[in-house]
């Protein structure tokens, strides 16, 4: 269980102590349960969270993105069992998102229209690297009323290598080997840290190479594990595989539905 938080040490502990004693006297004179409680007005909140998780792994010549397909309201209610959180933007760029689905749709629309304009202007598809930078700018553009999304951009970069870019809601960008975002992020990240990053094993321990087959298996297992212990993750795995020189493959695999 969590403890009381929020009190920080001040410059003058004696004055603070005196203040605390004063508060004790005041509270004892009229405790909360003897006064009529003030009703806090519920303020409208422009954001909501629809749960679910996504993860991405990049390898030498491939990138794999996966998400579950459950959409949840208030952590409890299931809105749909086949929501799409992975969006294939072109032949080499995959956007995967978690967070507020309304912003996800808007963000996808913005990116798609920018990609369309790029294609119109330059007669070529945008590369993953460029799109990654574009997304970062679009997110930071809304610095003070952000898109409430945990976005990840994956694909094959200009050199034919797999790429995963991870973002925070206001556009901080980072190119990583693997990443996860959403409700089960705290469960998936340590798993990938162990199995791909090998951060927990001894240096001289035998480390299996990250083949595309192994990456796909790890991704499936990560979501199977998350569905066991995280309530807003489940129903189906949406798996999107991008391999250099090959068309993007999409798959759906079953997960537990409870």
């Amino acid at each position: 269980m969590s403890n009381f938080t929020g009190i920080t040490a001040t410059m003058n502990p004696l004055a603070e102590m005196a203040q605390f004693k004063q508060n004790m006297r005041e509270v004892a004179a009229s405790p909360e349960w003897r006064t009529s409680k003030l009703i806090e007005r519920q303020r409208w909140n422009p954001y909501s969270m629809e749960g679910g998780s996504t993860a991405a792994i990049s390898g030498d010549n491939f990138a794999i993105v996966a998400s579950d397909t459950r959409m949840t309201q208030n952590d409890i209610n299931i809105l749909t069992r086949d929501a799409e959180k992975i969006h294939v933007l072109n032949d080499s760029i995959i956007l995967s998102t978690s967070g507020f689905y309304g912003d996800v749709i808007q963000l996808r629309k913005v990116l798609q229209s920018r990609l369309h304009k790029y294609r119109f202007d330059y007669r070529a598809d945008m590369s993953a690297d460029l799109c990654a930078e574009l997304l970062s700018r679009n997110l930071y553009y809304r610095r003070f009323f952000p898109y409430y999304t945990g976005a990840m951009l994956a694909g094959i970069d200009e050199n034919g290598k797999g790429a995963v870019f991870s973002y925070d809601p206001i556009g901080c960008i980072e190119r990583l080997g693997y990443s996860a975002s959403g409700a089960a992020e705290p469960m998936i990240i340590p798993f990938l840290d162990c199995q791909i990053g090998h951060v927990t094993v001894a240096e001289d321990y035998e480390k299996p190479p990250l083949t595309i087959e192994r990456a796909i298996s790890l991704m499936k297992d990560a979501f199977r594990g998350a569905a066991e212990r995280e309530i807003s993750t489940g129903d189906k795995i949406h798996l999107v595989i991008a391999e250099a020189g090959k068309p993007i493959v999409q798959k759906f695999l079953p997960l537990r539905e409870d």
Partner: protein, 277 residues
Amino acid sequence: MVSTEVKNVAAHMDMDRGGAFDFSNCIRNQAMCKMGAKAPKLTSTGTTIVAVSYKGGLVMGADSRATAGNIIADKHCEKVHKLTESIYACGAGTAADLDQVTKMLSGNLRLLELNTGRKARVITALRQAKQHLFNYQGYIGAYLLIGGVDPTGPHLYMCSANGTTMAFPFTAQGSGSYAAITILERDFKVDMTKEEAEKLVQRALEAGMHGDNASGNSLNLVIIEPKETVFKGPIVPEFCKRPEPNDLVYKFKTGATKVLKNKTFKYDIIESMDISH
């Protein structure tokens, strides 16, 4: 000096309720909140509990998932509590409160049975629960379905944390109750057979477990009749099973953990103890 003053203040507050709960930190905590501290939030467990009465008996059931926030804390949590041989209570709400309240009820009812030499009645269990819960003004987060069979017939009651009680022919409680009640409203009939009632409760529970994130894993049933009480479970519905096993085996070979330091202790064995039996 500070501490004695606080103690006097606390004594004046007249908060001691004969050793039931310790309220001695209440004043301090409120003062801390005034200093800008944030109080910890209590979480209640999501649940689906269902009960249906039928001709001459009662079926009650619950799922087995306990959650702490969005994490499943317990996959095999027992939410069907035995009060007496033929009175059971299903609980939704704060897990610790439910355990304690049902333990208290079963103890009191057993004493009553021993003192009177008769079987306890369901209404007695209900009255005890509601008086206890009303005393605590809803701060004991126990939402109960109390049901059973006594010499006056089968009874089913709902008892809310603030002490509200109601009688029902069928009902559901907990976060999955919306999904479960739809099944009950559609398919409940008066004077069902035991098999019909059991199937209905199971279907309602499965709807709750399917449609509610905070319910699932497995279900437990209890069928209460004047002659005998049958407990069934845990039953695992098809959608609660893992559809596919893991692809890889996650077993670390020796050497995965780096050895930082080696130290050998040598002991002389002076006497050995026979632990074979």
